[in-house]
Symmetry: C2
Subunit: 454 residues, 2 copies
């Protein structure tokens, strides 16, 4: 252990810092499993905001990069280790406290999304944001990526629920932004700037999250379409009149991947499947279900099933959620996260299919279709260098297809390290420059999450 | 006309720039009617983004401050003129275009909020944000202040609907942020940073606004309470189970001010009145109305009326909306905009009342109670220096009361010039420093809205 790390160890309570090789191994990768992951020189498992401040003061003093890390479920390499850096894990800061009168949760960053949901539910309240990873991803990571999910088509994304935060800046200063008030426009929207900043501007040590009354039970419509284009047309159509609480799409390859993994009797010949939920209260749900069914039929659905039984509905949602696991049985998965304006969905999916064909890789697609946010998953053989190369090419081309259609390279996973080369292609040189100017203003020494997108 | 202004006139088409004294008079004040308003050396009435770029390039070249201005309805002095500056009015850029498939409005900044609502409604769609000024305030101003309104308790504020913007930076560079896609986390959340920045970071020349399906007709509950505390307790109680689309509070002084101005038969003896609306679809509205009535009765309401008749409901909402006009009959009005966590509402209102008593000024209060955002209105005699002085003292003390209760000096009007002295008291020196660092990074010469909060 060198002198610099020795100083960090001495500054923090016993057991907070580790330099043990086996322990550090655990902090190298995130869910990206990228071969380029480095090894941290030490890992700090902060237990308090003061530990975070101490770590960042030390890092600034010595010019050491710090990679903040929640549960390590990033799919864009946002929390993978960098050689010579220190990983700052928030996994031990897991407190969740509910203020029912103010209808907020006060949460430490290492708490899992599901723990916030459970604590809120115990008081008859609800924390809506539901990334597919909600059972394993942390609130800190959700905030860092401005995580979306399935219900955000109606209920919005993480940023819409963050009312306040304590953030430790690169130099160790702790600032409090916002609070338990719902509306606050005093000064620049720094709170919103830190949300989605992927650990490049500061480290969240506490968040005040807005809660809403418990969700009503949802009704579910499942519709099979001959083509992805027909399913996408149904999405546009139903969006005109219904505020659905979930609009998920699975293409033919996804349906088949799920059927291979866990047979549920889904129609393998269908071009696409839509799972639509409405949680409109009481009898109004019937009207919305009817409107969804009508929109699907108008768009050419071949088979439409509606159910008010939450259990039956949940079965279909599970088929959707199991998707990623099902794909992992088929090989290594390079998960995409591109988004386009909703009307461009069919064209995007047509281009993804063509890209897969051209490079000889399977690319099943699921999508948060109501938001135009798609997850093409490039299945390849990680042990085969050529397969890996073709997968990377496809990955890159899919991002450029989204850009060409007025879309984004990332709807909810973040840019991280995997997509940073592509960011400027989307936003342009002037906006990249703005990103850098803000980064420079808030982290002049470049301590925070080095090697990330900015 | 000096050489510098001459250069600006020459750079822009005829009629875009004016230096006519009578014409400039119109650009001196905003709705703050502050005696400290300056006189601009010229006013640019931009017709295109290029005119905005040309103006800012010129301003940077000569170090001239630029005050951007929409409809001039700021209640915090955000768009009042500054001596020696140029006012950059966006009033001529009023185009509104609806893309029904992508469900967005593409809007120029000078378009009024009501015009966006109307254009959306013609396509069966809805632009929710509804500041009380919606018929007279511009979208550019709404974005600059991140305007709230009555329905934001359920539907969120302006920032929640801004998907994309063209922004001209201080040096004249035009950048495009976001677009027609619903979700986009590529790079820092610059889009959200510019929303609410009150013209201090850039000038919006085009916005892409999210639209949703048309709102259902609302049912209205009007409840009279013996005290403000009882009304506030009802707000907390109903918030547990009902997602009301409007939760407005009027205190006794407000009720009486409205009755004096336009008698509607409101009970002058009531301590407070709540107007609650629910727009839950179909039969579910009945359940929500019942829950609201129950919450009001539980909290001690003395008289509760519910109506499904939108006309009758609108009558009460009009009583609320006419409030500001009613107060203007009583004297000069210094409008406050402080917010607190919802449970702190009764304490805040008790303190406001005490402040009014202490300084001998009448301070009727209306509140977007469901969000904890209140508008105490300090009625005074502007011609009487002592009355004016006491009003200013009350204004200041109300802000500090909100801060002491974990609240904010501004929930939706912005800091502007009227509240800038108080901003640091709320956010602290470190956050003020962050504001300045971001401002410095984006507008290093301090061209944009000089004399505003940062």
């Amino acid at each position: 252990m060198d002198d610099v790390v020795e100083e960090l160890v001495a500054a923090l309570p016993e057991g907070v810092v580790t330099t043990d090789a086996a322990a550090l191994e655990k902090y190298r990768h995130d869910w990206t499993h990228d071969a380029g992951a480095g090894t941290p020189r030490a890992a700090v498992r902060a237990e308090t905001a003061e530990h975070v401040q101490e770590t960042l003061r030390w890092a600034t003093r010595h010019g050491v990069g710090v990679v903040p890390r929640g549960a390590g479920t990033s799919l864009s390499g946002g929390s993978m280790a960098v050689d010579g850096c220190v990983t700052l894990s928030l996994e031990r800061m897991t407190a969740v406290e509910i203020d029912t009168a103010a209808r907020v949760a006060v949460v430490e960053p290492g708490a899992l999304n599901v723990d916030v949901k459970k604590a809120a539910a115990a008081e008859g309240l609800w924390y809506p944001p539901d990334p597919s990873s909600f059972e394993i991803s942390s609130i800190g990571g959700n905030i860092a990526t401005n995580a979306g999910g399935l219900c955000c088509v109606k209920y919005g994304v993480t940023a819409d629920y963050v009312l306040g935060m304590d953030v430790v800046l690169a130099d160790g200063t702790l600032v409090t932004l916002g609070g338990k008030r719902v509306k606050d426009v005093a000064g620049l929207s720094l709170l919103k700037l830190f949300v989605g900043s992927e650990g490049t501007l500061g480290v969240v040590t506490r968040a005040v999250l807005r809660l809403v009354p418990a969700q009503q039970p949802a009704s579910t419509v499942v519709a099979l379409f001959p083509t992805v284009a027909a399913a996408a047309a149904a999405v546009v159509e139903l969006g005109r009149t219904v505020r659905a609480s979930m609009v998920e799409l699975m293409d033919q390859a996804s349906i088949n991947a799920v059927e291979d993994f866990r047979p549920m009797g889904l129609d393998r010949d269908a071009g696409a499947l839509l799972i639509v939920q409405t949680d409109a209260p009481g009898a109004a749900r019937e009207d919305e279900v009817a409107a969804v069914v009508a929109a699907c039929e108008l768009a050419g659905a071949e088979d439409v099933v509606a159910t008010d039984d939450p259990e039956e509905g949940e079965m279909f949602v599970r088929a959707r959620r199991v998707h990623f696991t099902a794909l992992e049985q088929r090989g290594a998965v390079l998960p995409e996260d591109v988004g386009v304006p909703v009307p461009q969905l069919p064209e995007l999916l047509a281009r993804v299919e063509a890209i897969g064909r051209r490079h000889g890789v399977e690319i099943p697609v699921v999508a948060h279709a109501g938001d135009g946010n798609t997850h093409p998953a490039i299945v390849h053989d990680a042990a085969d260098a050529d397969s890996e190369r073709r997968a990377r090419l496809a990955f890159d081309e899919i991002m450029h297809a989204a850009i060409a259609l007025g879309g984004t390279i990332t709807g909810e996973h973040g840019v991280g390290r995997l997509k940073k080369e592509c960011l400027e292609d989307q936003v342009g040189a002037d906006v990249m420059d703005l990103n850098r100017r803000v980064k420079q203003a808030l982290d002049p020494d470049g301590i925070l999450n080095p090697g990330s997108f900015v």
